[in-house]
């Protein structure tokens, strides 16, 4: 009897466990069903890209909803400009369009995961910001706006006005899943910083080549033997981002995880970590290491440790954003160390093709939830999105604010912030954003040239002008190679990306710090990269890119 009862109990437990597992597996397939209504987008398969000819209206249009409409948005909240419900911009948007923008806040720290979760669960808002990096399956969840470009006259007008290449918005099959930021100019505020007081003391000119920089750092080392003149923050990707273009290579922040991209100068597609250009860059960094000129701790050090070295004569050279050295200078001066940093124009090398850095005129930022196609007010929602991001009057208000209250215009046509928010008086450009929600990046789809300069101080603008005048800036407007892959292709290749990158990161540091020899061990390194999938992916990208170019003709 006891035995029979035990057997029965076991059967019940096994049955319930199987039922639970079956239930879980059934639920896992439930997410995609939420988006079954997006069959319109799913029906389109790869094929020749459709030529989208749109009758561009003579001028952008405005529109007001004839009845109250609510549109939801997933708002990417930056730490320095936290969301406030009381920002006047929300009321302005509603007053101008009769549309209430209902905002769901997503902190920047976990925004990508939030986007993936909401799309997978079929609960995404109508507008999703910063969708580009989420890596979601667009075909199932995001609206293809290619068939609806005629409903977005403001966007098309801005594209024509700023001479933006609409092909950059398209996937290989001509579909468009992301809305762009349309900026008249790109502004690059990342630079190499060196100690100008030391340079003047040494009687040296501003470095123009990597060899000049080497000589400068040697002098610094002679004066401060315990120092390591070049110290970088945020690990090696930041160093490669700054130094790489001087050697004609695109690494670090310049490239995605698969580290294959199109050179904005030569148009070549390469696997950059195994290129000859990278080899020369690593040779140079190894030379710095042999001469004690590069900080061995730079890969792991914290922000505060880096600032300490820069303020106490333990380091003198670093790549960073404009304005980032100000607190270092202030701290040093308070300690009686009168130092100054100056930004340096991008350096040339023996490898360089006469260019130095790339910048972007905005990017692909917003996605629209495909579920809105079932909304009876679908057309109105599209019109609202078009007005919100691309209507000049709306964007003027959202980006600049109210004239004579938040900004003024001088006789030369230059725009200046009100004194309380004037960046030239040491005020952060984030202050006006925090107070009014003005000038937020995630609400800015249209930006004219003179608007762009309003939130940069004179020092930054002088540097930007010098950069442009040097002819060393290239606007990177190539198609993103990742967008040419189907979801299956992307999943197939992405499996090898992480282990390959891990190998490459460690080998590049080995070359820099002399643990591997740049001449003897290079071929073996390249071979190993190929074994880990770089060659296969590179050939595949080249093939897809040729198909893409053929489709654009």
């Amino acid at each position: 009897m006891k035995k029979k009862r035990k057997t029965l109990q076991r059967i019940i437990v096994v049955f319930m466990a199987v039922a639970m597992i079956a239930g879980i597996l059934a639920a896992c397939g439930g997410g995609s069903k939420q988006n079954e209504t997006t069959t319109g987008a799913e029906e389109k398969t790869t094929g020749k890209a459709e030529e989208t000819t749109v009758q561009v209206p003579n001028k952008p249009s405005t529109w007001v909803s004839d009845s109250k409409l609510e549109v939801t948005m997933l708002f990417h909240e930056e730490a320095n400009t936290p969301y406030k419900a009381e920002w006047p911009i929300w009321k302005y948007i509603e007053d101008m369009t009769n549309v209430k923008l209902k905002v769901q806040v997503s902190p920047a720290t976990d925004h990508i995961n939030k986007v993936k979760l909401l799309l997978s669960a079929g609960s995404a808002p109508d507008i999703i910001t910063r969708i580009g990096s989420a890596g979601v399956k667009y075909e199932e969840t995001i609206l293809d706006i290619a068939p609806y470009l005629d409903k977005m006259p403001n966007m098309m007008s801005a594209i024509n006005k700023f001479k933006y290449d609409i092909k950059l918005m398209k996937n290989a099959d001509g579909r468009i899943f992301q809305l762009p930021q349309l900026f008249e100019v790109g502004i690059q505020t990342h630079a190499l910083f060196i100690r100008s007081d030391l340079r003047k003391e040494f009687g040296m000119e501003v470095p123009k080549t990597v060899d000049d920089l080497f000589d400068y750092m040697k002098k610094c080392k002679e004066k401060y033997p315990d120092s390591f003149p070049l110290s970088q923050i945020w690990k090696e990707d930041h160093l490669y981002y700054g130094l790489g273009p001087s050697f004609g290579t695109w690494l670090g922040w310049n490239v995605g995880q698969d580290q294959i991209d199109i050179s904005p100068i030569t148009g070549e597609i390469k696997h950059w970590p195994s290129s000859n250009e990278t080899r020369e860059m690593l040779r140079y960094l190894n030379k710095l290491h042999k001469n004690g000129l590069i900080d061995p701790e730079f890969v792991t050090q914290t922000d505060d440790a880096w600032k300490n070295k820069m303020a106490t004569n333990k380091a003198f050279v670093s790549w960073h954003w404009m304005g980032s050295m100000d607190d270092v200078v202030k701290a040093a001066k308070e300690a009686g160390n009168d130092i100054e940093f100056e930004p340096v124009l991008p350096l040339d090398s023996s490898v360089t093709h006469g260019w130095s850095c790339k910048t972007w005129r905005g990017g692909l930022v917003w996605g629209i939830n495909a579920a809105i196609k079932d909304n009876p007010r679908f057309d109105d929602i599209l019109k609202f999105i078009d007005i919100l991001y691309y209507n000049k009057e709306m964007q003027e208000r959202l980006y600049l604010g109210i004239k004579d209250e938040h900004y003024t215009e001088d006789t030369g046509g230059n725009l200046l912030r009100a004194e309380k928010y004037d960046v030239n008086k040491g005020v952060s450009s984030n202050l006006i954003k925090r107070d009014f929600g003005i000038s937020l990046n995630d609400l800015n789809g249209y930006r004219e040239k003179k608007w762009a300069y309003i939130d940069y101080d004179k020092r930054t603008l002088d540097f930007v002008s010098a950069l442009v005048d040097s002819g060393k800036v290239t606007i990177s407007e190539n198609v993103d190679l990742r967008s040419l892959l189907t979801n299956e292709e992307s999943e197939r290749f992405s499996v090898k990306n992480a282990p390959r990158k891990e190998y490459i990161d460690s080998m590049m540091l080995n070359f820099i710090f002399g643990r591997n020899n740049i001449d003897n061990d290079w071929d073996a390194y390249v071979k190993e990269c190929e074994n880990k999938g770089s060659k296969e992916l590179l050939e595949f990208y080249k093939k897809k890119y040729e198909e893409y170019k053929a489709n654009q003709k």
Binding site: Q9, I12, V13, M16, A17, M20, I21, I24, A27, C28, G30, G31, E77, E78, A79, N80, P82, Y83, A85, Q104, V105, P107, A108, T109, D110, K114, L117, S120, A121, G122, S123, T189, H190, W234, H238, D303, D304, K307, N308, A311, T312, W321, M322, G323, S324, D326, D327, V328, K330, A331, A332, E334, A335, G426, V427, S428, S429, N430, L431
Partner: protein, 290 residues
């Protein structure tokens, strides 16, 4: 008689314990002193356990943000409600499961153990909560995870140590099971109740993930989510070139971070000395019998 050897041991022991205390206390004191120091002093590496360039700029900045107080209020509300609900559900569940005569007890225990190994996943959980209409509601924070496996098992183990004769005597006196539970069992269970209250309260206080998943408006965020956004988000922003000039104002992301850490952890630090003994007892419960 106290021998010389014992005295040496005693004083060596004291010295060692003081060393361990300093070792564990120093990083915390460093965080506190950084929160009261100037940005320049931090950059110059001059801040140890005593603030340098004393200023309250970071605290003023944090306390000027209304969402900090909203977050704090939410954290207190979520912690109190979660702890009460969890305490109630855990004790009644544990009491029932502590009775060996409960039909299907083994099957239920097996299922509970199964859920420790297999989880539905984040997306199905989100869909479930959404279907219940709990998105952006406090129930989404309280109900999922209301019963912790670990706390349930240690409570079961504790209830099993109570003599059956007490309950039998109460039954003879005419009490029903609910009255026995409320009037006999619970008063005897103060140690375990204090232990699991502490565990649930600390867990709930630190919880940011549930609110991040289920809350859609910022006025429902707890202070821990606010803190996370501040700490991690500031570095993300700096990497994208968003150089906030608060450095020029005398405080920096570091002082803001440390000030927020102090403000968020302060209540737990104030309460913990009074309930520490229950925490220690709780760790031992279930391992020592008799």
């Amino acid at each position: 008689m106290i021998t010389r050897g014992y005295k040496i041991f005693k004083y060596t022991n004291y010295a060692f314990m003081v060393f361990v205390i300093l070792l564990t206390l120093t990083p915390f004191l460093n965080v506190v002193s950084m929160s009261f120091s100037s940005n320049s002093a931090i950059i110059l590496g001059e801040v140890g356990i005593i603030p340098k360039g004393f200023n309250l700029g970071a605290y003023k900045r944090v306390l000027a943000d209304p969402y900090f107080f909203t977050g704090y209020k939410n954290t207190i509300v979520y912690t109190c409600c979660s702890t009460l609900v969890s305490l109630f559900m855990t004790t009644i569940c544990a009491y029932a499961l502590s009775k060996k005569r409960l039909t299907g007890r083994k099957a239920i225990m097996s299922l509970i153990i199964l859920t420790m190994i297999i989880s539905g996943g984040l997306v199905p959980n989100f869909i479930l909560i959404k279907s219940l209409g709990w998105i952006n509601k406090i129930w989404a924070i309280i109900i999922p995870g209301a019963i912790s496996h670990w706390n349930l098992f240690i409570t079961i183990a504790f209830f099993q140590t109570l003599p059956n004769s007490l309950e039998e005597a109460a039954e003879i006196d005419g009490l029903n099971p609910i009255q026995i539970f409320a009037k006999i069992v619970l008063p005897l269970s103060k140690p375990i109740l204090a232990t699991i209250t502490l565990y649930y309260a600390v867990s709930s206080w630190n919880n940011w993930f549930g609110p991040w998943v289920y809350m859609t408006t910022k006025d429902k965020y707890p202070v821990t989510l606010y803190l996370r956004s501040l700490i991690v988000g500031a570095e993300l922003a700096a990497r994208e070139g968003d150089v906030d000039a608060m450095q020029k104002a005398g405080f920096s992301p570091t002082t803001i971070r440390t000030a927020t850490i102090v403000l968020v952890s302060f209540p737990i630090l104030m309460v913990y000395p009074f309930i520490q003994k229950y925490f220690v007892k709780g760790v031992m419960i279930g391992s020592i019998k008799g």
